[in-house]
């Protein structure tokens, strides 16, 4: 019988002196200045675009539009949850450095860093809109921090070559990419938003609120087709993506992917406004033991978007959302 290879033979502990030298060297290095196009705004732009189902399809409208003719999206929005199956395409984006792939096609026009403020009134003054606070908080819950972000604007320039690379990396080789739009631009404006953080023991909740982001795209494009590509990137099979894309009003819809680890997602009402709630377990990565639940609540009302991500009980989160004033 042939001897079995010792496949563990190379595994070992790094030399302690090497580990310490490297640790010291890292601590002596300043944080690198991320190139603006690859920074948070680029990620935000990509995230907004993907979530909107227009994503990288910003680069692939079917018609070359006039440069001075734009279509404004999302004057009002509604959220729609779409389940992402295990092992499907969107999960693969975790291994792809999207900002690096498209970063140099995202130009930061205006960037303002968030600032901590001392009160809701100060946040209102900083952000330029009246900040709403929950009248109802779960027992033992306290406000821990308020942050107001500034206005941020990015311009995304179409690059069909990069898009093809991304789709290839995602294994979506059957998606056709019209070349006509190469070089066209879209503008994404994220207006000032306010983030409020709450704590209840070791549970946390983060609430974001602010005006709906503005997306200006070249006029004359086929939004349903762009949405279909966005849905494919989320992992929907081609026939389902096509059917779904035709039914959705892409001028007002933001698609929220529901991960396979989520245990529940549903449409909810916050006041009279429809929203989306997603819930799932928090699994300790070491012990694999469930140690609580997370939830995400998204809704829109009166030209604003709201989101609460928390580890509080969901009913408490919903009560907080319903008591905003």
């Amino acid at each position: 019988m042939a001897p079995e290879p010792n496949l563990d033979a190379l595994r070992g502990t790094p030399d302690s002196e090497f580990a310490e030298r490297l640790r010291v060297r890292l601590r002596q290095q300043p944080m690198g200045r991320t190139r603006p196009a690859r920074g948070m705004l680029a990620k935000l732009a990509a995230g907004v675009a993907v979530a909107a189902g227009i994503g990288f399809a910003l680069t692939i409208p079917t018609v070359r539009a006039k440069a001075n003719s734009f279509l404004a999206l999302f004057r009002e929005v509604s959220f729609v949850a779409v389940p992402v199956g295990p092992g499907q395409v969107l999960e693969r984006t975790a291994g792809i450095d999207i900002p690096n792939l498209i970063g140099d096609r995202v130009q930061v026009i205006e960037q303002n860093a968030p600032v901590a403020v001392v009160s809701p009134d100060a946040a209102s003054a900083s952000a330029g809109f009246r900040v709403e606070m929950p009248r109802v908080l779960p027992e033992g819950t306290v406000l821990t921090q308020i942050t107001a972000s500034g206005r941020n604007v990015v311009r995304v320039t179409a690059d069909t070559t990069r898009l093809r690379q991304l789709l290839d990396a995602l294994g979506l080789r059957d998606v056709e990419i019209p070349e006509a739009i190469d070089g066209e631009t879209a503008m994404i404006t994220v207006k000032p938003m306010v983030r409020t953080e709450f704590a209840q023991g070791d549970r946390r909740a983060v609430m974001m609120q602010g005006p709906i982001p503005e997306v200006l795209m070249p006029a004359g494009i086929d939004l349903a087709q762009l949405g279909e590509i966005g849905l494919r990137m989320m992992g929907l099979p081609a026939p389902e993506a096509r059917e779904f894309a035709k039914k959705v009003d892409w001028k007002t819809t933001l698609v929220v992917p529901v991960p396979p680890t989520a245990t529940r997602f549903r449409q909810v009402l916050v006041g009279s406004s429809p929203g989306v709630a997603i819930e799932g377990p928090i699994i300790d990565p070491e012990t694999k033991v469930e140690r609580g639940n997370w939830n995400l609540l998204l809704w829109s009302n009166g030209g604003r978007v709201y989101g609460i991500r928390s580890t509080l009980r969901f009913n408490d989160v919903l009560a907080m959302a319903n008591s905003l004033q």
């Binding site: 033979a9 060297r25 092992g87 693969r92 291994g95 995602l170 929220v256 680890t261």
Partner: protein
């Protein structure tokens, strides 16, 4: 996977920008990255150099990432794998003479060399006989000790494809051992 590594957290990243505990990250991931390179490159010196490069790249770009453990690990290994690719691209594809000789010997009479080389040295040499992709996966599996599912997530391959490639690679190592 922890909740922080799931899609709402990634897509709605604007909701949370919690800081990364870099000391904890360093303590947890240094051995995994180091061992990934031990399997990827074979020798300690290269493994230390490439581990340093990986962490320096991550450290410089740390403002771009949240406290998102699952995604963080994937991000770090993406840097490590790219670093390995750059390393091999920059080097001429040569095998040191003594190792080349050992490879030749192994192909002929593996039992003769077993006594003269440690398992580690023997494995290092045999890994060089694998394809780049096989070696990448072996390094993720046995060096970084990732599950087939995590490897699939990191590489874009399906989990069954990962299993098949690893099975063939291990089979090849078994035959040459």
């Amino acid at each position: 996977m922890a909740a922080e590594g799931t899609m709402p957290a990634r897509v709605m990243g604007w909701i949370s920008r919690e800081p990364v505990d870099w000391d904890a990250v360093y303590a947890e991931h240094l051995p995994r990255i180091y061992n990934f390179f031990r399997y990827r490159c074979g020798n300690v010196a290269d493994a230390e150099d490439l581990t340093s490069t990986t962490f320096e790249k991550a450290w410089r770009g740390r403002d771009r990432y949240r406290r998102d453990k699952g995604a963080f690990s994937t991000w770090l290994f993406t840097i490590a794998r790219n670093t390995a690719v750059d390393h091999y691209r920059a080097r001429a594809p040569v095998v040191p003479l003594d190792e080349a000789a050992l490879v030749a010997t192994l192909a002929a009479t593996p039992e003769d060399t077993t006594a003269t080389r440690s398992d580690a040295a023997r494995l290092a040499v045999l890994l060089r006989t694998l394809s780049d992709r096989e070696r990448d996966l072996i390094a993720l599996k046995y060096g970084a000790e990732m599950s087939n599912r995590d490897i699939a997530g990191a590489t874009g391959l399906t989990e069954s494809n990962v299993g098949t490639i690893l099975h063939r690679a291990v089979q090849a190592l078994r035959e040459r051992w």
